[in-house]
Symmetry: C2
Subunit: 312 residues, 2 copies
């Protein structure tokens, strides 16, 4: 979730030891933060899902733990206003360490989950979307930035703002985020979930398209996730025992993947390809890219014995 400020995992992998299928041991990168000697096999191996070599050692870059952090949950009348608020935050020059969003359907699922456990949600009825921010850094910075964050959101007329400035207060807000996945099962028995991503400026359009696909196909589409980097978790909620819905869910999934790629996005922001997404790879990668990836794989694994049929 902190990729927005800190970059993704591969940005923190400095070096690797790996074993090629024939047993040959290679070292890529080093313990240096900067190392441009030869091709960057380190980053090529990260995220290769076991298709190139068996990684046996990793050297990771560490960052100092921030001195302080604070979180802020804000509600808005609808997702468009929430996204306008997020845009104002970036224009103010703030770089949160995390920025999550929840659409109205997700808020409804959380309301059900809280009601079931006898609790309450912090947002008033008029709330159609929420943003959850985390800021971290030196104590002085966090104190000043949380005020600038509030100011930046003011123009989007938040329905409420709730601040968490100590561990307990922050955890209370992030508990809501962590409740989403289990709560979704209260709206329908079956889930088909995705982790597509689109360029940040197209998140509003993407969510609207995904929901339209759900309406057309007759299944529920719920969106939440990492707004800051455009990585959207899309949950298709349906009832497998209803033949129409059972048929519609995989169709909706396919259309959501296709729409993501059409918007300049990707089939997978963080979870990878594995077995589930190999049938869809052709939506994003053309024959030139797939041919090249197959040749690169053959450079590592000429007999194709590593994780065959997956990832590529």
């Amino acid at each position: 979730m902190r990729a927005l400020k800190y970059g993704v995992t591969r940005d923190h992998v400095l070096g690797l030891e790996a074993v090629l299928p024939g047993g040959e041991v290679i070292r890529a990168g080093s313990r240096c933060h900067k190392d441009v000697c030869g091709l960057d096999l380190t980053r090529l191996l990260v995220g290769s899902e076991g298709s190139l070599a068996v990684i046996t050692e990793a050297v990771l870059k560490l960052l100092p733990l921030p001195e302080a952090s604070a979180s802020l949950l804000a509600g808005f009348g609808d997702l468009e206003r929430a996204l306008a608020g997020a845009g104002a935050v970036f224009r103010a020059g703030l770089l949160p360490s995390a920025l999550e969003f929840m659409d109205s359907g997700v808020l409804g699922a959380l309301e059900k989950a809280r009601a079931k456990s006898g609790g309450e949600v912090p947002w008033p009825k008029a709330t159609g979307a929420c943003l959850l921010f985390k800021l971290d850094g030196s104590r002085a910075a966090v104190g000043a930035e949380i005020e600038r964050l509030r100011e930046a959101l003011a123009d989007s007329a938040p329905t409420f703002v709730k601040l968490g400035t100590d561990q307990e207060g922050e955890e209370a807000l992030w508990d809501l985020r962590r409740m989403i996945s289990p709560a979704m099962h209260l709206v329908a028995p079956n889930k088909s979930n995705d982790d597509v991503a689109v360029p940040r400026g197209r998140v509003a359009e993407a969510v609207a398209r995904y929901k339209a696909i759900g309406r057309e196909r007759g299944v529920g589409v719920y969106c939440f996730g990492h707004l800051g980097d455009g990585n959207i978790h899309v949950d298709i909620m349906y009832d497998e025992s209803d033949p129409a819905q059972a048929e519609a869910a995989p169709q909706a999934k396919k259309e959501i993947l296709r729409a993501s790629v059409e918007m300049g996005g990707t089939l997978t922001g963080e979870h990878g390809v594995g077995q589930v997404k190999t049938p869809y790879l052709g939506m994003q990668l053309g024959p030139a890219e797939r041919g090249l990836m197959a040749r690169v794989k053959a450079a590592f694994d000429p007999s194709g014995i590593l994780n065959p049929g997956k990832a590529l």
Copy 2:
């Protein structure tokens, strides 16, 4: 210079368009901050020095410009004390956007350059090494962190501390850093320079070894550069018209490269391999790694027509 806080260039390249030698156009990555669809050809192409494909388009990740910055130049009795000071800064949880060091020889060259132009250097005579820090972030953060930085350095008994808190003040400090390369020509007519890197914890040992190599070979060795990420610029200063020095300089270079690799470092932190360093590649990359890189190159460029004899 800001890689310490912000990561290296390749961490900011989200997507690329490139043309393979046969004319086929490929797209790697996308406009998304997170995209793990297939192999990471984007990072493989970055830093490949034209050996794999011709890059025709790049999508870069941008960060908000920090609201404020401040710089601090501090002198120490010797390099060991300067490095102890830098260690204390990291232990205090501070992450400067840049952290440069200059050894005593470099300070001497700067003194000569300033004297020539009728100016003065800011450090007192007892100074054997300097550290130059830059902090950036929100105004409140920079103000608080610069004080914590001063405190962290106090135990290493700085010979002086000079602060730059506005553009003019900061530039005056960074002018000294920018003067280093031209100033080196005042100590000897010829220069053979390198950009080796070692793990940050071994910079003191590395500088001591490089200087010992210079003394043994009878050429001057001057060290400065990006202490924060262990990337050291090593200038071998000599007189080409003296046959003994002309022979010693390339020997010293070779020994400095070998020592860097022995310390877990790299032949090149940022400038790459090109033509100059291909003869030394075998010091860092073994036959397994070089064979693999050659096969990866062949996957892109089967006829070997792209930048032949360079980079790999």
